[in-house]
Symmetry: C2
Subunit: 411 residues, 2 copies
């Protein structure tokens, strides 16, 4: 199907950076399934980190080539793939943009685990170098290409910091009053002052300044999605064939809190809660992640508009409440362990997410059916689990005890 | 002289990163002269950029080895030197810190020209990669070394952005009122929301987030000096021998506004003003730069204190007023040229600098004597000038006319 007039073509050419990852893979399939033309760029660094950590996805993910062949076999749709390190091979990235001329680029390609980013100086430095150069190279290449490309980036709820007492977290921008020299009160809207909780989260705060600048200087259209913790594993598309199955991280570095609890319960490991479990976090199901990204692609900001920031989350929960709920459903027991992170013991979290709701998102919220679906997958692949990888061993400072089991990644 | 008790030793061991540069060199001599033990790290990248741009310092600066030998010859004081790229050789940087065990590190080692940072994708990417990895490697190495090192960093007034109408620019932190969910007004103090005007300035905004994080997580003591445009060339120490002379940049990329005007007038080139010259900028004389850094070193923040931010500037001037003043003194004529930057045509700038004043700084302000001193140096070395390097050719966007002569660097 060839549309000569771009305006009447509802289908877009979309380049997906990090399209082999946990969020990127189901997003690629979802958008391809809708009829968009999808091209993936990924350097497979996440698979190499599996090797480094000697920890694998609980689910048996297939090599990217197999994934793409199976998708074509089932649907007849082709997804292109380039193995490029976008942080280190600018020319190759620019070439793909210049040749593919995408309408949009979705940028998932960053090191995304907070514990991994805190493991050692080497890991801190890798995370800063990879994430900042990846994002900056992309912005440079978009300007350099001369194309009017809509950039959709995955940021994190973690940039806000946890604990602004009594205040609802807005979507990216904060209304403040400042005093003028004349002593008058002046209204201003500013980028929310960030308070990141790890080197990983810090890079996402720094990304925001990159977006602000390139948007201002070069009018790049940018949507930045401040995402909560993603849970679940499969989506409508990844369920269509066993070989399309999505990644399921359960180890102390990459496993995120809700999925970790479900996996621990499924394999008969205690549900490990940090401290009192008083931390409140924001969540979203992977099926909603892919829908949100679709909505972001369908609603690009105007050319001279400032960076559009959405809070991509559907609900908040106190960690201890989740552990209790899962314990009730599964009969698993809870183990309270000391917290390897440096953070407040307890926090409230009240988040605005009107932007996605106004664009038509109908949130999937935590329910027993979905929880049981994840538990079933975890049970099915329990034989693949390496229990020694479950404890979170990366501590935030040298002073903190090494080797305490913990909560895992918050991204 | 060996002090066994550190408390009664007024002399410190100080590592100076970027100690071969325009600010770093006179600072090294000033602190060495006061009796501190100084070690310089520099990869000489600034001299290599001179080669790349085919533009040299107006003054005949000597190789670093000669500089250090002359200093020892004259004063009997030794300054150590390591040629290390701190953005790319972490292990070497860590080694120097571990072996030298400095009380303080002064960090000048960044690419510091706004026009250079905007020349091409390559230059943008170099600036981001060099500046962010330099600062992050340093923070990592300080934590990694286990030493309690005071980090003094040179930032820029440019992070504030120019043009917050009617508001005095505070020293790093801004008092704001935000509304709680209950509808009450809550006082908060936040990092000043930055609005950088170039890729170079953006990296300094991003540096601030690095400092905020490492200060919070690891209690690193940090002083961040938001410096205005430095003018002048010699200090008391660099005047002591012709071979100690400081760098004088006059080219379109590295020359900064006041020095450029003085040099242009001295060599009989028109004084080039952007647009109407309605931009207001903050200034400081190089002699005050070295005194401010001395004061920062003598007044480290406490171990658990937040990042200390000083505005390191002594006065503000409208660019056109400076051009008029210099034209009056020297008889040089003014040429109004189009602005290669993307910025407001006019702006007010009202800046707090009480912190340095309260620590005892007695500001040197613009006066005919000092202006004439700079003009004399420019006249003396006028024979070294390459007039073709005077125009500022780096434009902020592709749409802007290439090749228009302009104002030069604002750092
Ligand atoms: N998973 C979550 O709960 C969550 C929550 C909030 C935000 N996010 C954000 O969403 C994005 C995707 O997260 P994810 O969970 O899918 O992570 P992931 O690690 O599974 O996927 C990231 C993908 O990017 C690739 N990549 C990394 N660096 C690259 C580079 N330099 N060049 C090319 N490819 C590179 C990796 O190989 C990987 O396939 C991240 O930016 C993350 O910060 C994730
Ligand atoms: N000159 C000004 O007017 C001014 C104004 C405000 C702020 N500043 C800031 O003060 C600092 C010093 O400025 P300057 O005018 O002396 O600049 P400069 O370029 O003359 O000096 C910087 C020095 O750092 C070195 N360097 C750069 N990257 C390095 C790396 N990766 N490893 C080792 N050495 C490296 C260079 O070789 C150079 O000698 C900069 O951070 C600048 O942003 C300068």
């Amino acid at each position: 199907m060839i549309f000569k007039n771009k305006d009447i073509n509802p289908y877009k050419k979309i380049v997906i950076l990090g399209g082999d990852g946990f969020c990127g893979w189901p997003t690629s399939l979802h958008l391809s399934n809708l009829g968009h033309e999808v091209v993936i760029i990924d350097n497979l660094s996440r698979r190499n980190i599996d090797n480094e950590l000697e920890a694998e996805s609980l689910t048996p993910i297939q090599p990217i080539g197999t994934r793409l062949n199976v998708w074509e076999e089932i649907t007849g749709k082709q997804i292109g793939f380039y193995n490029i390190d976008i942080a280190n091979d600018y020319d190759a990235l620019l070439n793909v943009l210049s040749n593919e001329k995408p309408d949009a680029v979705i940028h998932f390609a960053e090191q995304r685990s907070a514990p991994y980013s805190m493991k050692s100086p080497k890991h801190k430095r890798y995370t800063v170098n990879n994430n900042l150069n990846a994002t900056h190279n992309l912005l440079c290449a978009i300007v350099d290409s001369g194309l009017d490309i809509h950039l959709v980036h995955l940021g994190t709820m973690g940039v806000y910091g946890y604990g602004t007492a009594g205040m609802k977290i807005p979507e990216g921008y904060l209304n403040v009053k400042v005093e003028t020299e004349a002593g008058e009160s002046m209204d201003q809207q500013i980028l929310y002052p960030t308070n990141p909780g790890s080197v990983y989260h810090m890079t996402k705060s720094q990304d925001q300044l990159l977006f602000q600048y390139y948007n201002k200087n070069d009018n790049v259209r940018i949507t930045d999605l401040h995402q909560g913790i993603v849970w679940g594993t499969n989506t409508e598309e990844t369920k269509r064939d066993e070989r399309l199955i999505n990644r399921f991280d359960y180890d102390g570095d990459y496993g995120t809190v809700l999925n970790r609890f479900l996996m621990q319960a499924a394999v008969g490991h205690p549900i490990t809660v940090h401290g009192t479990g008083g931390q409140t976090r924001a969540f979203i199901h992977i099926q909603d992640t892919v829908r949100c990204i679709q909505l972001a692609i369908e609603n690009p900001p105007a050319r001279e508009e400032r960076v559009m920031i959405f809070n991509q989350m559907t609900e908040t929960h106190r960690v201890n409440d989740l552990a209790t709920l899962i314990s009730k459903i599964t009969g698993g027991e809870i183990a309270y362990v000391s917290n390897p992170r440096k953070e407040a013991i307890e926090n409230e979290l009240n988040v605005e997410n009107n932007l996605f709701l106004s664009k038509g998102l109908e949130p999937i919220t935590l329910n027993e059916g979905l929880l049981q679906e994840v538990t079933k997958i975890a049970e099915k692949y329990a034989y693949r689990a390496d229990y020694s990888k479950i404890p979170a061993k990366s501590t935030w400072t040298k002073e903190q005890q090494p080797g305490v089991p913990g909560l895992g990644a918050t991204t």
